[in-house]
């Protein structure tokens, strides 16, 4: 039968592109909320308001005339990240790890001059890295020092954790590990490795690279399985809260784990990809339908949603852990305090407005 393959995908609860677009993105993500996630500065401001930790914001350059002033704003900070506010796919990001003799040292060890940095900021402002080619802002924020939990299975770069939150319930998760081929970037389509994370236990499972299943990192040859992700419950909370703060019902939440500051919200995605299903060897649609049939009372708070997810999305054969809710909420509270103080108020509260975005042909 021709329908056999279709039926077997349906049986496996696989979410296809068409259903994702019509039923979930169009059904749960209001168009007017998209700018909240497309612009990293807006996301950051929102996260701050809701007590979700993000990398500390040092400075924002909005106009070509302000470029020269950016060193003053840096003061004596030796390391920072320079990125476009509306960039997509990790393009236009420069990581600076040191400053020597008035020059900047990038993560890969290259020395770049002050003029080159200025040039790069100018490019960002002109919208070279923003997908629609609209004018953009350059964001300068703290450099992330990745927790060493994934150190053995990462080739350069910063691994990040993607959690799909549906109606505020963490539905599926994976960690994306940079490889030599992906050039230190955590993008799956560049060849990074995706490893599913058991929502209940917070442990890694199967790996996928391109569309082939793998068990070991291609560069470091270390096993990808059974790595316990630290701060896991907190990360689930951050994902659940991201839905509350954006109002987006179908959301991809990207987090990084800093060895000093713990999990930080890096960015949000209103159109998260479907490859996470392959990394988990599991269909997302099945999970989403389970969430739809969950008892109504779990949706009243992020805590209830997370504990429901932990109970229901533990891999078969593993015991679902009890989560210490008080501890997590305490974590959230401290993170909140820490970051409110670290961002200049005038930057956070400045009105950020853009013209209407246009869809390309």
């Amino acid at each position: 039968m021709i329908f056999r393959p279709f039926l077997s995908l349906r049986k496996a609860g696989v979410l296809g592109m068409n259903r994702r677009n019509t039923q979930y993105i169009m059904g749960y993500n209001r168009r007017s909320s998209f700018p909240l996630v497309d612009d990293k500065l807006l996301t950051k401001r929102l996260a701050l308001k809701h007590g979700i930790p993000t990398p500390s914001l040092y400075h924002v350059v909005s106009h070509h005339g302000d470029i020269a002033g950016f060193e003053r704003a840096l003061a004596d900070r030796q390391e920072f990240v320079l990125k476009p506010a509306r960039g997509g796919g990790g393009s236009g990001i420069i990581l600076i790890t040191d400053r020597r003799n008035g020059k900047f040292v990038t993560q890969s060890g290259k020395m770049i001059s002050k003029e080159e940095i200025h040039y790069h900021i100018s490019d960002i402002l002109s919208g070279i890295y923003s997908l629609e080619g609209l004018e953009d802002r350059a964001v300068i924020e703290s450099l992330i020092h990745p927790d060493q939990v994934f150190g053995k299975v990462t080739y350069e770069g910063v691994p990040d954790v993607r959690i799909i939150a549906y109606r505020g319930v963490p539905a599926m998760a994976m960690v994306r590990l940079p490889t030599r081929q992906s050039d230190g970037k955590a993008n799956l389509h560049r060849g990074a490795v995706g490893v599913g994370i058991d929502i209940g236990r917070g442990k890694t499972m199967n790996g996928v690279r391109r569309s082939g299943a793998i068990t070991h990192h291609p560069d470091t040859r270390e096993s990808l399985r059974d790595i316990a992700v630290p701060f896991w419950e907190k990360m689930l909370f951050m994902a659940a809260q991201s839905t509350d703060m954006t109002g987006l019902g179908y959301l991809g939440v990207d987090l990084v784990i800093d060895k000093n500051e713990g999990p930080l919200l890096l960015e949000l995605n209103a159109r998260p990809g479907l490859q996470i299903q392959v990394a988990n060897r599991k269909g997302l649609l099945g999970r989403l339908e389970m969430i739809d049939s969950a008892p109504k009372e779990i949706f009243v708070s992020s805590g209830k949603r997370v504990s429901w997810a932990v109970q229901n999305f533990t891999e078969p054969g593993e015991a679902a852990p009890e989560i210490a809710r008080e501890k997590v909420e305490e974590d959230m509270a401290t993170g909140n305090r820490m970051h409110v103080t670290s961002i200049p108020a005038e930057i956070v509260n400045r009105d950020i407005s853009y013209g209407p975005s246009s869809d390309g042909v």
Binding site: M17, D123, R281
Partner: protein, 512 residues
Amino acid sequence: MKRPALWLAVAFFLVSFSLIGYRIIRLGYPLFPTFPAKAWGLTMEIFFEPSETNGKEMEIRAGLPQSRPGQSVIEQKDLSGSLQFNILPEGLNQIGVWSGDPEKGKTISYRATVLLNPKRVAKPKPPGPESFPAIIAEKSEQILARRLIERYASLKAHEKLKAIATTAKGIWGEPTPNDNDLKQWSAIQRKYGGEKALVILLRMAGFPVRKGQGFVLAERIATQPDRWISVWTGKKWEHLPPETGSLYPESVRLLPLMVGNGPLVSISGGKLQEVRWSLNKETLSQWRSHFERIYRSGRFLDRWSLFTIPNQFQEIFRILLLVPLGVLMISVLRNIVGFPTFGIFMPVLVALAFRSTGLGYGLGIFGGVVLIGYLLRRGIDRLRLLLVPRLSFLITFVILAFTIFALIGSKFGVREFMAIGLLPFVILSMTIERFFILIEESGAFQALRTAAGSAAVAAITYKIIQIDPLQLTFFVYPELLFAVMGLLLLLGNYSGYRLSEILRFKVLRVKS
């Protein structure tokens, strides 16, 4: 499926099909407007040299096809326009007369579309006085001819004709005429030529006979017309080529251009260099034959038909109406099959552009421009140009590439290279930019996959919009656009898997 979308789609289908139904039932439109009628296109090109001594007046006369039972000339045009063109009936013939001052050109080209109607049985026209030409042979030769055909006297007309025809090959049947008679007949054949000798025999046997010139219908280019002898057997005309000794079989269709003895093409005040006829089959649909009626009709939907707008705008609409068909294809190929493409509508515009270049040349030119454009884009990447000047730079490059192609095309006579002006240059420039970004961000593999997907979608779309009957159906029934809108509503609600996802999520499939 969401209810409102479904109902809206059903409403669109209803509007579409009820309008079509009204046209078919009440206005008598063809049920299958695309059912191809057998039509032939005849092109005649006459190359001539005006003589300098004869002043400036010159006249060229040529036999043209005419409407007869079972055959109608639905369109004829003088394409050259250099001389004055008139069509004069002359006896049984239609003669095209070109006259005037030949200064403007040394070529005449003429085109006719001839519709063959297989349904209508041609009721033959009995012979007139022209079919009883005076017998040119001398008395003694006539007596010999009569003696030779006496043997066939008892045969019926058709059989008799067949028997006489074979004598052209020297086959006389039993009993063989005596050697002396045969020798004398050979002398007559040499004297008058085979064709005339045969006519003498036929005339002596009492058949009305006339000569014909024109073409046996087959796709070809010819510099000489076919010649045949037409013989009236009392019920119908039979035609035979003079040399083969047999009649044309029933299946052969003739396109006569001239009946009688005169030359098919003649000139005064100049010299003919060459005459070239080309015949090609045309897919015409029956709407052409409805055209006249629609044009004169007072009915509402007839008045509001696309046929009533001037010709040059009809052409535009014929192309315009293909766009919905193209975007429907894109929707299917992207959302149901899952082809990756650059941009959403780029392949439709490219497919439309292929109409003037053809598929092979189109893909080649397209690929070439994108490839060179990509290298250029790589080159200027280091210069860190701002977005708008950068895209403008690429557009200028694309136009430059087109110009160079056109010049090369004109140098080497490749028409397709010059027809690329219609390739959508903005889309092409955006494709170069997107191709570059995709290679940078997702690697060459992904970019080539997308490029292959785009090319495949453009090619498939091109193939579909090139289906003539489909094109004509949309032109005759523009209300089909409602049906397309209905289909698009349904497609927009398709939330099932794409074919490509069967592969993508192979590892997830549940074995059942």
